[in-house]
Structures are given as structure tokens and as C-alpha cells.
Symmetry: C2
Subunit: 656 residues, 2 copies
């Protein structure tokens, strides 16, 4: 894609730097991130600043560039809303307790960990070297509590049973997990005590709103519901037309049973969510052409169903044309997300789009792709892009009795075959009482295909089962309900928009970015560098002097003032440390540029400019260097452009 | 102040516009704000976007410009932290319930409303016209539930008692309010039912963290505590030296008993807080000189104590020199805040700095000023600037037993007279048991003046009372504690930094800004304009065409693409509405500029540019106009500059 190529990292280098001289070392990276104030255990200082910069880039990339409607809805959410969305009933994990100590575990995690340890023990007993398996979908899941293996040989049939069990670990209900725990004598590996039966634990934080104690609220588990409850206004704002999108950045909360794993599973996290509303019969996107050549690394569902994980690189244009990605709008967001993630510095070779398999996806979803980013935690889901069909707007519409539909005036009136629901109001009311309205609305709200099924059943069996929005089912009979085929002339087409939802877990993206940015200088493994792009780096420019001379010190503060005025976040280091040490400290922080004041600055009015990754230096008049830094940071020129503007410099002060 | 003048509203006009042709009409403003999607009842679309822009301006003005350390601490806070800060025990309002209906009221609000209604009824009975009193501090408080007055004459002594009661309404405890309710037969004016005794209601939202139900957490009521618990790391980050500042933007929560009043009293709100840490003996600020000429409208405490509210305009330099503002650092933040508020569009004539009176201020605070902004709600506190002394760091240090002190190596060792606390460890331990350590730490943590008082008391009365950080008091006696004057040579000076805290209620600022920006065209009261500065306006530029001609429509999308590329948030209006209507709609949204494409755009390659407030128009080559818009929005040129670059234009299409 031409546009993408021209906006590539402005910090691109002429001479390549060897960033892979040393193996990835997570311990060093973690120590660096903690020591240099990125996070521990929550984000701090540089982490907060990096987060703010990523969100700023996100807002420009999506909200401004795509003209989205930005929302700022509340975190504390009335229980009614989350009852409607299904979170109150279904947003839960199964947990078990140690019957004696009361220690709590996630049921699926502890079963998985114990069974894996037994299989490992079996291999040890058989003297089989650990096989190098290709990574499967089960593997990629975040690592659970480690359980020590003991070398005990198992029956072959037991091994087979364990392996099949692990492959399906995500599919078990709580009672099934309880059965597995009993059948396989799974106990707490730390104490040897038995577990309780699995019980459901809702992952939402609950609180009371106001002083009465009667109004229940939850901290939102996602920002999406705030969009849906405001849909009627959003639609009005957009003059009653689709497509359009709303976007929201904000904190969400999940009361995780055991939030381990650094920044990947935390109780409070920043999300950025887009809800794009489209006509279900027209999911084309007017700007699809601009992104059709963006290349994605795809892991389609059929490949996974074959038990393989090999990626297919293809353009989003081809993926949509071949029906691998369901529609243009979904494809458009996949492409734009690929561009966003690589723009902020995610390594494209460690980024893939994995399609949900049929059994993974919610029943209402038309298609769903996760952007997974590879890090030391494996392939982690960081962005989900789902076509959620009309599900969300339908449940809210049924609950609030507010029609959330688009009315489109047809150019030509059209004659359509429709199915009409006719009930005997009195008999129907007597039979179903307070549920009568809800059943009638469920029937009239059905799409034609579903209604045809009900009609067929009524004709065949004289009865059919209707499931209402509250989850309860009712039997209707042909004496109470008739469904008639009628022909009507329509001047207006009415439809419930479908929702295509790209949902970003910003903390996970941020952590992955830090791993991808991290490397060590070829000559010294301890010399850590974070190659953050200028766009997101917390500090854009370091300003130092080679001596504590008062005239030089005055000059660096003058330069700092000028950069501040341009809005370039810079930092003066006027400590007594050596220049080399100062550079090294800022390489660790990901500061892309450094300006050094020396005696020539006083004599000739020059300033040197250093690039972080290459440590290359340029020299020029002070104001030219400042202007160059400004343009480098804003991304309007590359380091190569800067090199043609300023002179190359090989000073003595860079003692590296 | 020269710097301030040159950065004044870049949208300044050559020809003044009459913005006061119509009286302020809150009903029209509210209708406009709701209709045009600013808020209702939470922020929406334009409100969210305006909020994002204000926060972006805040981040640049404070965090980047002042090189502050940005934090992002959690909203869900362990109860321990808020116990230490005093919020668990003291962050509460008194409430009463209607004994029959159970309806809940804030005790002080309902007493005030009923007494005010009785006084009003008395005046009606006496036939006294409502006096036009000068606004007092009591008046400015947000209006409570309105209670209807009944014309009943009161005894003169009762009137006097009621008036004295109202003047002190903020000072009563819950039991005192209960006494007043009983004494004056205050009942629920809506039902005639009696009230329950006042009970305390803690204003924090409470929840459980994790699945055990044993770990209590609260949603933070302010972001400040997140700074203090991280202070040790912040200090380390700053190489152990003060001054420096940390800053945090985020949501805070208060479970208000009755959140009325639009956006001014809500349960969930965005705060931006700065904690600036200084040497208690040196509260100078290195950049004070840059702001010393900034003029403030001050309402000092002595003026208020005289029952007056007349403002004194003076420079911050004079205010500090005359000791009206306690110190340079506090003065520096007052000046910078004045600059920030006026930069985003707050009317400086409706902005004042009100000093807290002695009885209003926390006992530990050295000085405190509120920026109050005048709106239809009266003078509302929007930013508090307090010198909180060493209080916050001391309570956290005592609780966590972690020293939060700065060690400063002295250039010259110095001989100092100190007071040394000597206790008889055994007898002291037997007497105070588990409180012994806390009492000893409280004594050793006292400053010299305080300790001298204790010494004097011990010598005079053989006993003294010590109040510990947990709020409990203990009597110490001269047989257990000796305080001796000693002379020591110090090489290191150790001190607990003082905290100067500017704390911003962003929602209140945003609402006030909307009121200050609002006016109506002289020729038509219904033609509402929001004069938002380009810096914060949700949309910077409207792009329209005078006809639906396909060539013109293609051109506006081309212009939109170019503006997007420059990062200028623009909006195309290609609806069938008239140009005048389109302009009017965007005047309501505060969109400062508009570009209009007409047939001359095709023929001559020109574009016209309209300024919102004056409706003045300029014309020039398309790319020149686009570049001009970019500079106007970024604030590097004023409309006057633009007018000298482009030609004046008086087209026929602007039908206003």
C-alpha cells in the first residue's frame, strides 16, 4: 500500500543496526522496565506517558481520521443495562476452593495445570524427551499456576483421555469440571486437600448507587454497552442514516479470580472500542479501496480446524474477494488496525489475524478476527474485530421497548412477500398473562427465515417454542397464533443495523510494544535500547551538555524552552554523569533523539543531533537542528531526510 | 504579561462583534447543548470531544510544559490507603430519612431549604420586598431542593435565630443538625412527615476485590492518594531531589446523596491533579519570574471576614510580595492556572481566586485558594490550589513505616540546636502498650515549634496531649518523656517535602466554558453561537458546497482529506440544507472556521474561508486557504494575520 509505505517509521535508518545480536531476555527487559519506571505493577510515569501517547495516536487514527462520534459514558453502570446485555447472568468464571485452607482457584486453570503436570510426569517416567510440538491454540493461552511434575508412568488409555480433556478444556461447564475433578482425583497440588464443587463467580465489581442500598450498579466490564444505550441519539445525530461509527476510550473492570501475568490480566484496564453501524444488506465500505492492498498475516478458521497454525499472507482485498473475511467493512477495520499497530511500533512479523472458529464465536456473530501479538507470553489477543450482527441493538430494543431501527426511504416502492403475525388478543392474553406482550414482540421482531420456521412448526405440530429476551421459553399453539403470508407495498425499508466492533485492549498492546521495542547493543548485552517510534515515545528529545560550564548550561535551558514551545516533550539531563551514560539512560527510555551542547555551540552556534538506534550524529546551526527535531518527531521527515539537511558528525564526546 | 498577550485567542477579530445584544438565557443554552449533543445528562459526542480537547490542552500546558511526572494509578483503591488518608472515617455527608416514605435528604440541605422558605414567608407576610443582598459566601453554594414559602409572620427573635443558623449551616455536626430539626420542627415539606436522626453516609462507592469477599476496596474519591503512595518511587526517579511534580488525569467517584444540578454535582467525574513537592524552607519557584505580571482577581480571606466580596485585581508578583499569597510556588500555580483557564476560553471577568478562610481550611493547610468561575449556578469552585504542608506524606509514612523524606547533603556541616525526645523504653511500653511506637513516632516527627510547645507543657503541667496519625489522643507525662535541647553537627539535612496541590474539576470547567462561550446573534435570539477557541472546539472546520454538483462534492471530499492529513478535525456537510442553515448549525457547535466550495473553486481554484463570530469571509487559492486554516487552528496566526494573507470576500452565498 503506497500510502502506508510513505508514512513508515520516520526514524528509518540508512545504515541497518543489528538488533538481534542477543537473544531476547525477558528478565533483563522486566528489570529495565521496572527500573526505568514503565510499570510495577501498574503503569507508572513513563508507562502513563506512553499510554497517553498511544491513546492520542489512536484518537487521531480512528476518531479524527474516520470522523467517528466520540462518547464518554459512565463507568458505574445500572444493573438493568448489564442484565440486558447478558453480563449479569453470564459474565462469570467457575472457581473452586481448597476445602481446608479456602484458597481459591479458577476451576479450568487448576484442572489444566494438574493434568499437564501428570502428562509431563508420564513422559519423564517413560524417558521421552519433551516433544517439540507445533504451537496449538490451547498452548497460546496464558500460562496458569505452575504445578510441579512427578515422574509417574500412566496407562496409555489415561494419557489419551488426558490429552482429549486438555484439547477441550475451554468447552466444559462448571458441573463438568466438577465431575472431572472427582473422576481424576484432582486435589490442590500445594496442600493435597480436596476442592469444593465449582461455583460461578461473576467477574463484575458490584456496588450500590446512592444512599438507599436498593440501586445496584456494576463497574462496566467493557465500554460497548455505553454505545448501545445511546444508539437512538447517535442515529438521530447522524440524520437517521447508517453507516457511521461511535468510539470510546476508557477504563473497564473485571474482578478476576487470580490476576497474574503482569499486565496481560489485570482488574482495571484501558479499552478503546469502536461500534460501526451498517446496513445488514450492504456491508461495503466507501474507503475500502484505500486499504485493499494492505497485507495481513491470516490464520483462517479452516486451517485451525485442520489442527494447523500456518499463516497465509494476503491482501485484505483478496481476503474479502475470496470470502475469507466476511465483508468489506470488517476487512477495512482489519487493514486499518494493522496500519495502526505497525505505526505505533508493533513488529509486523509478530502480528497475526486469527479467525474465531465456529464453536468459539457467539451464536449471533457473523465473523470474528482477533489481532494476536506474539510476546514472551505467546500469541496474545490484543484487538478483537467482530461482526456482531443485529444482536446488541435487538436485545436493548426489546428490553427498553424503544425501536432501534433505521428507516430508509426507497427510491421505488416495492412489493414484498411478508409474514404477518396474527394473535387472538383475548385468548392470547388469558393464556400468557404478563408475558403476552413480550411473546408477541419476540414473534414480530423475528426475521423472515426464523418466522418461517415457526410457521412451519405450527402447521406441522400445531405448536412451537418461543424464547423471549429474558431467556424464558414459552409454547405457542396454532389456535392462538396464525402466521400468514401477505403481499405489501413498501415505501420505506426498515432494518436494525448490524454492528461491527473493533475492540482494543490497550494495556496488552502497550506491553507487547515494549517487548517488540526492546533489544541490546551488539557490544554489550546490558546496554538496553527501546526502539519506540517518536510518535509514542514518552520523551522525544534529550538535551545534554558536555560540561557543567554555566554558559553551556544556560544554552541547554534555552533549547529546552524552544522545543517546549514547539510542543516537543524533551528532557534536560544536567546531572554530572558522562555523556555516554546519559545517552545510555535515555536509550533505555526509548528517547529517539538527543541534542548535545558543546563549546562549538557557543563559538559557532552549532548543535549536534543523535539518533538513538544507530547512534549516528549530525551537526548544524542550533535553530536548524531544533526545526529538524520538530519535523522528525511530527513524522514529516525521516532520519534520511535529516541527514541530507544537516552535516554528518563524528565527535569525540560520544564515548560509546 | 507580554507572553500571555502574544498567545491570546488567535481567533481575535479586527471588527468587534456584539455578543451581548441578548440577555443570557439559560433555557436556550440548555436546549442548544442538549439538542446539539454536548450532554444529557452525561457528556455525549461533542461533549466527549470537547473534554478530550481540554484534557489534551491541560496535558500540554502542565505535564509537557512543566516536565511533570505523569501517573496512571488505579481507580479501585485498597481500603487501607483510604483509611490512612482519612477518607474511610471522614469522607461523609449527614443524611436524614422521611420516617414514613423513606425518602432521603442531605441533612444540611433540607434544614437550609426549610429555614430559607420560612424566612421568605415571613418577608411576604411583612410585605417586605425581597432585599437585593450582596452575594455572600453562603449564597454561592449550589442551590438545594426548592421549598415553597408560605406567608407566615415570625417573631423577630426567631428571624434572628434563623439568620444566624443559616450563616453557620456549614459548621454543624450531624447531632447538631438533629437538634435543630427537633427544635424547629423541621419536617419533610412534601409529605409533612418527620425525619429520622441524621446518620453519616460515606460518599465512597464500596466493592469487594477478588472472589473471597474479604478484601474491601473503594472507587477513589480523588486521584491524589495515588500520587502519595507512589512518592518514594517518584522521589527516586527524580534523583532524590525536590522540587518536582507528579500529575494525573482520571475519573473519580463520589456516591452523592442527591446529585442534582446538571454537570456540577455528579457521581462520576474527571479530575486533573498536580502534586508539587517542595522544600518547606524554600517555596521559591525558578520560573516565577515568567508569570509575575499575570493579573489575578483576588478575594482574600480578610475581605471575606469583613463580610464583603469585592475583588482586588493585582499581579501575582505583588500578591506574593505583600504576603497575600503565601509563597512563590503557590503563586506560580495560581498564575499558570489563570493562563490555562483563559486560554481554553473561560471569560477572565467571570473568574476569581477566593482564599479559604481560617475555619474553612484543613488544620494542616498553609494556604488555599479556589478558582471560582461564575455561571448561572453562581460562583462555583472549579480548581483548588492548596499548600497542604507535610500532612499527606506524613500520614502515609507513619502508616507504612516507610520514610518519605528528602536527604539533602549540606555544602557546609552545620551546628544546630535540636530538641531530642528521650523516653524510658520500658515504662513507656508498659504504659502505652501497642500505641507506644505510634506515640514515639508522632513526637519525633514533630517540627521544632510543635515539639517546643510539648516541652513547655511537660515542664509546666507535667503532662501534654499527643494526637497520633490514627486520630486518637494520648496523655504523656514528664516522668515518661523528656525533651532535651541538644547541639548537634549535621552533614545532612532531612525533611518531609511539603505538597502544593492544584486540583481541577474538569467537568465543572467544561460546563462553565460552555456558558461563557454562548451568545446569540444580534438580529435573532434563536441564532445561538458558541465561541469556543479553536484549541478546544470539537470540530475545527466545516466544509460545505453551495450545490450538489458532483464535481463540487468531489472537491469537498478532497479538501476534507487534506485537512485530515494535517490533523485538523473537520466535518463535511453535504446535506441538502442551505448554506446559511449549515453555517448556523455549526455556529451552535462552536466550529470556528468554514470552507465553502463554489463554482469559482472549479474555475479559478479558489476557496472561501468564514470566521464563526464575525461571519467575515476571505478568499484565496485552495491550498493557501487550507494552510491558513491549519495555522489558525494550531494558533500560530490570528484571524487578522489571515486577513492580510487572503483577500476579503463578500459572496452572495452567505445568506445571513
Amino acid at each position: 500500500m503506497a500510502a502506508a509505505a510513505s508514512t513508515a517509521n520516520p526514524n528509518a535508518l540508512t545504515t541497518p543496526v543489528n538488533k538481534t545480536a542477543h537473544e531476547f531476555d525477558k528478565a533483563i527487559l522486566d528489570a529495565t522496565l521496572t527500573r526505568r519506571f514503565f510499570f510495577t505493577p501498574a503503569f507508572e510515569i513513563y508507562g502513563a506517558s506512553l499510554l497517553a501517547n498511544i491513546l492520542d495516536a489512536w484518537r487521531k487514527h480512528y476518531i479524527i481520521e474516520e470522523d467517528m462520534l466520540e462518547l464518554d459514558t459512565t463507568i458505574m453502570t445500572m444493573s438493568e443495562v448489564l442484565k440486558t446485555s447478558g453480563h449479569v447472568d453470564k459474565f462469570a468464571d467457575w472457581m473452586v476452593k481448597d476445602t481446608k485452607t479456602g484458597e481459591i482457584f479458577r476451576a479450568d486453570h487448576i484442572v489444566e495445570a494438574v493434568i499437564e503436570a501428570r502428562l509431563k510426569g508420564d513422559k519423564e517416567a517413560r524417558g521421552v524427551a519433551e516433544e517439540v510440538k507445533e504451537e496449538t491454540e490451547a498452548d497460546k493461552k496464558k500460562k496458569k499456576k505452575k504445578v510441579k511434575s512427578v515422574a509417574v508412568k500412566l496407562e496409555d488409555s489415561v494419557v489419551a483421555e488426558y490429552e482429549s480433556l486438555l484439547a477441550q478444556i475451554d468447552n466444559y461447564t462448571g458441573p463438568q469440571l466438577g465431575e472431572i475433578i472427582r473422576k481424576h482425583n484432582i486435589v490442590n497440588p500445594l496442600t493435597g486437600n480436596e476442592f469444593t464443587e465449582p461455583v460461578e463467580f461473576n467477574l463484575m465489581f458490584e456496588s450500590n448507587i446512592g444512599p438507599t442500598g436498593h440501586i445496584k450498579g456494576y463497574l462496566r466490564p467493557e465500554t460497548a454497552q455505553g454505545h448501545f444505550v445511546n444508539f437512538a441519539k447517535l442515529l438521530e445525530f447522524n440524520n437517521g442514516r447508517v453507516p457511521f461509527a461511535s468510539a470510546q476510550i476508557g477504563k473497564s473492570f473485571r474482578n478476576e479470580i487470580a490476576p497474574r501475568q503482569g499486565l496481560l490480566r489485570v482488574r482495571e484496564f484501558t479499552m478503546a472500542e469502536i461500534e460501526h453501524y451498517v446496513d445488514p444488506l450492504d456491508k461495503k465500505h466507501t474507503r475500502f479501496n484505500e486499504v485493499k492492498d494492505v497485507k495481513l498475516m491470516l490464520l483462517p478458521k479452516d486451517v485451525q480446524m485442520d489442527g494447523r497454525t500456518d499463516l497465509r499472507q494476503m491482501t485484505v482485498g483478496d481476503a474479502v474477494a475470496q470470502g475469507i473475511v466476511d465483508n468489506e467493512t470488517l476487512g477495512y477495520f482489519l487493514a486499518r488496525t494493522q496500519l495502526f499497530l505497525t505505526k505505533i511500533g508493533i513488529d509486523p512479523t509478530r502480528l497475526r489475524c486469527r479467525q474465531h472458529m465456529a464453536n468459539e464465536m457467539a451464536h449471533y456473530a457473523a465473523d470474528c478476527w482477533d489481532f494476536e501479538i506474539q510476546s514472551s507470553y505467546g500469541w496474545i489477543e490484543c484487538v478483537g474485530c467482530a461482526d456482531r450482527s443485529a444482536y446488541d441493538l435487538t436485545v436493548h430494543s426489546v428490553r427498553t421497548k424503544q425501536p432501534l431501527r433505521v428507516q430508509q426511504t426507497l427510491d421505488q416502492p416495492r412489493t414484498v412477500e411478508k409474514l404477518e403475525v396474527v394473535t387472538d388478543p383475548k385468548a392470547f392474553g388469558i393464556k400468557f398473562k404478563k408475558d403476552a406482550t413480550s411473546i408477541r414482540e419476540t414473534l414480530t421482531g423475528m426475521d423472515k427465515e426464523r418466522l418461517q420456521c415457526v410457521k412451519d412448526e405450527l402447521e406441522k405440530n400445531q405448536s412451537s417454542i418461543v424464547k423471549c429476551a429474558d431467556g424464558r421459553s414459552h409454547e405457542i399453539t396454532s389456535d392462538l397464533v396464525k402466521i400468514n403470508a401477505v403481499t405489501v407495498t413498501e415505501h420505506i425499508r426498515e432494518f436494525t443495523p448490524n454492528v461491527i466492533e473493533p475492540s482494543f485492549g490497550i494495556g496488552r498492546i502497550l506491553y507487547s510494544l515494549l517487548e517488540h521495542s526492546y533489544w541490546a547493543r551488539e557490544q554489550d548485552k546490558a546496554r538496553v535500547v527501546l526502539s519506540l517510534p517518536p510518535l509514542v515515545a514518552p520523551i522525544k528529545c534529550l538535551i545534554v551538555t558536555i560540561s557543567q560550564d554555566p554558559e553551556l548550561r544556560a544554552l541547554i535551558h534555552e533549547i529546552s524552552r524552544k522545543l517546549r514551545k514547539l510542543g516537543v516533550a524533551s528532557r534536560v539531563d544536567d546531572s554530572g554523569a558522562s555523556i555516554g551514560k546519559k545517552y545510555a539512560r535515555n536509550d533505555e527510555l526509548g528517547t529517539p533523539f538527543g541534542c548535545t551542547v558543546d563549546f562549538a555551540s557557543i563559538k559557532n552556534g552549532t548543535l549536534t543531533l543523535r539518533e538513538r538506534d544507530s547512534t549516528a550524529q549530525l551537526i548544524g546551526p542550533i535553530d536548524d537542528v531544533i526545526a529538524t527535531v520538530d519535523e522528525l518527531v511530527k513524522g514529516s521527515i525521516t532520519w534520511e531526510d535529516a541527514s541530507s539537511r544537516l552535516q554528518s558528525y563524528s565527535g569525540v564526546q560520544d564515548v560509546e
